[in-house]
Amino acid sequence: MNKKSSKFDIRDIEGEGWVYSAKVEDHFFHPRNVMTGKIKESDFDAIGEVGSPACGDVMKVWIKVENNKIIDLKWKTFGCASAIAATSILSEMTIGKTLNEAYKITAQDIAHELGGLPRRKIHCSILGDQALRKAIDCWRLN
């Protein structure tokens, strides 16, 4: 993650290019692994949800587990561009990982993978890792 992108603020942008990194742009406009109406929620083994509508960000993730590995993850997010992109990239980072590996994914890892996020956005937009850990906890309890 380069220094500039990790520190920039959405209000500091100088009018060049887009407001977020190219990676955020890509995932925001082309989100991966969204839980759409066509997919059956019952095909998944566990669900995790964090955030509140009042705060402006809510994330839900569904996971499918086989032999201790997350073989599929679908998500839904209410939130801004960085929140949507963060959940989308998390889905790619998670699928194929073991539960233990997935459990260790941090907000910093997600921000890094996105090529940096505005400082003020990191806290509110990256809740996906927490939602994922909740889903894993939920799976382990069952």
Binding site: V34, P53, A54, C55, K60, T77, C124
Partner: protein, 398 residues
């Protein structure tokens, strides 16, 4: 401007009218004198300022001496509120919860300086509570500052009624105060700006909302109002706004006022009602503000289950520029204080979009806008963790 793009953020700022540009251009290179001098170049500049002041006074039905040129709406609001308060030294101020931050933060500054401030509630349409105003007026109330029309939701405040309440209170108490200030930045293009008929003592408006440049504003101060400056320097603008006059921009704002008089806004009104009707056909959408008592160019709608910043970036991609009350776009990361003051929850503010029309918009553009918004809302709702569609709805189940 980007080809084919549709600009719907005129409440934020307008383009500068080409007639305004033509009028002000000579004042950069040809008539460049400092109006304070005695020689020809200065006298020409001075003449332009004097003429602009007359035009502005004519627009407001005031005297030229009652017009102060400033650097914009924020400065005019600051001068009105801080200037009146500091002239009296202490006292009580009444404003509303939905004012522009230039007014709210001036009032908060005065609280730090020992003044008391009452922030009036508004009803679900955003209209200031007049009964609460009557009850809040006290002997030591020095100023009431209520906006003419709200910048986010377009609600028009009952300025003449407020003025009547204040005048009755003043005559009952045989007092010259409280003075009544209104921020009319959003109103200047569309509403009655005759200061005598609306009955205000101070009035703010600026260039950037009326097709003049950013960086110029006006404060009308009725003769006799006790006020002190907030900036200190030379004696320009009766000592209330020192600094060399911004001659080209002062010429520009006066020319913009000349154009307002010739403009009728029937088309804006038609486009506004078209957009409100069409956008409310999208399920789970709600109009913020009043349906009828609103500015002819303002539309503010909440679309449940979507977040405003995300919607704006999708719409930007389709060539449409507009704004939102979502926290994600605000410096404070707080949702719009205006929409939450209507009694809505924070989510309604996060999910709100504001469209503000201008002279350059057309009905055919509005058809494209409705399609683009409906597509965007649909897309974002598909991935939304909070949106629950009607059982009948197809959006989420197709």
């Amino acid at each position: 401007m980007i080809h084919n793009s549709i600009y719907l953020d005129h409440a934020s700022t307008t383009p500068v009218d080409e007639r305004v540009v033509r009028k002000m251009t000579p004042y950069f290179e040809l008539v460049y004198g400092n109006p304070s001098g005695l020689y020809k170049q200065s006298r020409e500049a001075k003449k332009a300022v004097t003429q602009s002041r007359k035009i502005t006074a004519g627009f407001l039905n005031s005297k030229p001496e009652e017009i102060i040129f400033t650097s914009g709406g924020t400065e005019s609001d600051n001068l009105a509120i801080l200037g009146v308060a500091r002239a009296s030294g202490r006292g009580h101020i009444i404003t509303s919860k939905i004012e522009h931050s230039a007014v709210l933060n001036s009032c908060r500054q005065l609280e730090k300086e020992g003044f008391a401030v009452t922030y009036l509630d508004v009803d679900k349409d955003g209209v200031v509570n007049l009964e609460q105003l009557k009850k809040s007026l006290k002997k030591d109330t020095i100023l009431v500052s209520i906006m003419y029309a709200n910048n986010e939701i377009g609600t028009i405040e009952p300025i003449a009624k407020i003025s009547r309440i204040i005048k009755d209170f003043r005559s009952k108490n045989k007092s010259a105060t409280p003075y009544f200030h209104t921020d009319a930045c959003q109103a200047a293009l569309y509403l009655n700006m005759d200061v005598k008929s609306i009955g205000v003592d101070l009035l703010t408006f600026n260039g950037s909302k009326i097709y003049a440049p950013k960086g110029v504003g006006v404060l009308y101060i009725k003769e006799g109002v006790k006020i002190v400056p907030v900036l200190f320097g030379g004696g320009q603008e009766r000592g209330l706004r020192p600094g060399t006059e911004n001659v080209p921009y002062i010429v520009a704002i006066a020319e913009a006022l000349n154009i307002i008089k010739k403009h009728n806004f029937k088309i804006e009104l038609k486009m506004r009602d078209f957009l409100i009707n069409e956008l409310l056909k999208i399920e789970h959408s709600h109009l913020n503000g009043s349906k009828t008592n609103r500015l002819p160019n303002n539309i503010n709608i909440t679309f449940d289950g979507i977040e405003g910043e995300a919607a704006i970036l999708y719409l930007d991609r389709m060539g449409i520029g507009l704004s939102t009350g979502s926290a994600c776009m605000s410096q404070s990361l707080k949702p719009s204080h205006v929409i939450t003051a209507l009694g809505c929850d924070d989510e309604a503010a996060h999910s709100s979009l504001r469209l503000s029309l201008g002279r350059d918009n057309t009905i055919s553009q509005m058809k494209r806008v409705v399609e683009a918004i409906s597509e965007t809302v649909g897309k974002l709702r598909q991935m939304s963790a909070t949106y629950k569609s009607n059982p009948k709805s197809k959006i989420d189940h197709e």
